[in-house]
Amino acid sequence: MRVGTRWLASPALGFIAFMVGGPMVVIVWYSLRTRGPGGVGVGDGLTVDAYERLVVTEDFAGNVGFDSTYLEVMWSSILLAAATMLVALAVGFPTAVWISNRPRHLQPLLVLAVTIPFWTSILVRTYAWIVILRETGPLASGFDAVGIDLPRMLNTRGATLVGMVYTFLPFMVLPIYAAAERFDHRIAEAGLDLGATPAVVLRKIVWPSVRPGVVAGCLLVFIPAIGAFLQPELLGGGRSLMIANLIQQQFGASRNWPFGSALAILLLVVVTVVLVVARRAAREARVVLS
């Protein structure tokens, strides 16, 4: 970076550093404190109790034992994010490839259509799903009219997954579309010409070309999905506790800010590990992710 650009960028860089780093420092600091009086804020004492509580429980008799409850919550969040990512990939990949094969003048319109959900608030859209999925909603009554009795949909894990996939699908479609759109069909022909069967062309030529888009799409879905909060709460009925809901509870009803902060750090560590692993995989694929 030349001196001039650094000088120009410094206010923005300072702002970003403060807005990202500031809260992070606060959370780390909170996680190392005792509970505050009445559970609000943090106390004066320094302790690692909050981290202990992630894996250890103490019963009324004072026996200390391993407790996997909170790790299981983390794990179910990872599973939900992974499921969201896989379903979004299964739906988003064909969609993206289809868009990239439309006539050139139609493609921007279709990409715009993919981004239409961004035009309104996520909260409004999630409530809309409640309307659709509830027992008196259009889906259930529609099937009812033709004599099919649908099982309950709202307040299930399935409803959570539907809401998650719906929310994060554009983040899968757009990067894959960007990679597929750049794909040069002539190199597929070159593959056929050099003796590769259509299946091999798909595996050795098409796939390496769109892989960066797929990796980017998967990360863009998985990482925010792991911390998703709204869909499990509103569509899942809070039945399956996710890590983000647990964190929210600690700062709300449970009044344990240090523990909430420790959970937040746990989430951060998990996301970082995922990023590092993905980066390594991507580097092998000769992709630069930043």
Binding site: R186, A190, L192, D193, A196, S209, R286
Partner: protein
């Protein structure tokens, strides 16, 4: 020779445009390519030459006709099982593979042993003089180098016929000349038949053992460079390959013609006269190359110099014969350059002319 090489018989192909119109890209094309022959498909853009190449490669189906290679039917075989390989116009290198892996790709598809692949790739790199570039990616190479990689990638498979689709089109003139010489050298050393598509007539003359001239999906003439240049069979060929004067011809009584309203000569002296006069009616023209026209005071045709340009090696003179007819003349730069406006006479040797009807 023919049974072993490539034989194209009466191949036709029509494309239907999305709007409903249709284009006849190939119209009854027949052509034979010998086992180690360098054949150039020459024609203007849209004449069907690339379609023919793609049909041979298997990237395009033909509507009718057949293609055989080494005595076996080729056009019903999928592209990945044809013993032909293509050097694409855009090179179509795999951007995510190194030069070495690009070249090895075709051999890997044949499941050749690793040691053999390594040795053949090294040999191919040597052939195109890129030995030091094995580990680079295509993006790190210049256009000319990418061109060589594309050539090596196709040649390393040792196809029976190598198809080249305007491979030099994207290179600048100097590099182009250099690559032409290189291609000729490589073709001689590997002894594989080359079928080379171009719209550049100079390139065609420089490279081809034979040239097949295409126009509107039909092959209009096949011959050695000398044949198509010296003895064009149609007005299109005469006009497309090199510069040509096409002079109007009037038929006179028994056996004589008048050229450009001035020059009367016996038709029998001119090559192609019989057929042209029978077929052509009023459309007959006399074709003569500018370098075959001499400025000579004793010449039969008279006019006024309209333009005279010194071009270094030679001089280009345009002579106005009246009624808007110009004759282009190319003479040696050592001759005196006529002044614009000067009245001159030109002489044309009938042996170097042809009568063309179509």
């Amino acid at each position: 020779m023919v049974a072993e090489g490539l034989r194209i018989q009466d191949v036709s192909k029509t494309f239907t445009a999305p709007e409903g119109g249709s284009v006849r890209a190939l119209d009854g094309v027949s052509l034979d390519v010998g086992t180690s022959e360098f054949v150039v498909l020459l024609g203007p853009s849209g004449c069907g030459k690339t379609t023919l190449l793609r049909a041979i490669a298997g990237l395009e189906d033909v509507d009718s006709g057949r293609i055989d290679l080494a005595g076996e039917r080729l056009d019903t075989v999928p592209p990945f099982r044809r013993a032909v390989n293509t050097v694409f116009q855009s090179y179509a290198l795999f951007p995510f593979l190194t030069v070495e892996r690009n070249i090895a790709f075709g051999l890997e598809m044949e499941r050749r042993p690793k040691a053999e692949i390594r040795q053949r790739v090294a040999h191919a790199l040597e052939l195109v003089e890129l030995s030091g570039f094995a580990k680079r990616t295509p993006a790190q190479l210049s256009g000319g180098q990418q061109q060589r990689v594309a050539l090596a990638r196709a040649l390393v498979k040792e196809p029976k016929v190598l198809l080249l689709d305007e491979p030099l089109g994207a290179l600048d003139l100097k590099l182009r000349r250099q690559m032409q010489a290189e291609l000729k050298r490589i073709q001689r050393s590997v002894g594989i038949a080359f079928l080379f598509v171009t719209h550049d007539q100079e390139e065609a003359l420089a490279l081809g053992d034979r040239i097949a001239v295409l126009n509107d999906g039909r092959i209009v003439q096949v011959g050695t460079p000398q044949e198509v240049y010296e003895s064009p069979e149609t007005r299109f060929v005469a006009d497309f390959i090199g510069e040509t004067n096409l002079l109007p011809v009037e038929r006179d009584a028994a056996g004589t013609v008048t050229v450009a309203g001035q020059w009367k000569l016996v038709a029998a002296e001119i090559v192609g006269a019989d057929e042209a006069l029978v077929a052509g009616g009023d459309q007959v023209v006399l074709a003569v190359r500018p370098e075959r026209v001499r400025i000579d005071p004793g010449g039969e045709l008279r006019g006024v110099v309209a333009e005279a340009a010194y071009l270094g090696a030679d001089v280009h003179v345009a002579i106005d014969m009246g009624e808007g007819l110009l004759i282009n003349v190319r003479t040696d730069a050592q001759d005196a350059i006529p002044e614009v406006g000067e009245r001159v006479a030109v002489r044309i040797d009938p042996r170097h002319t042809r009568l063309l009807s179509s």
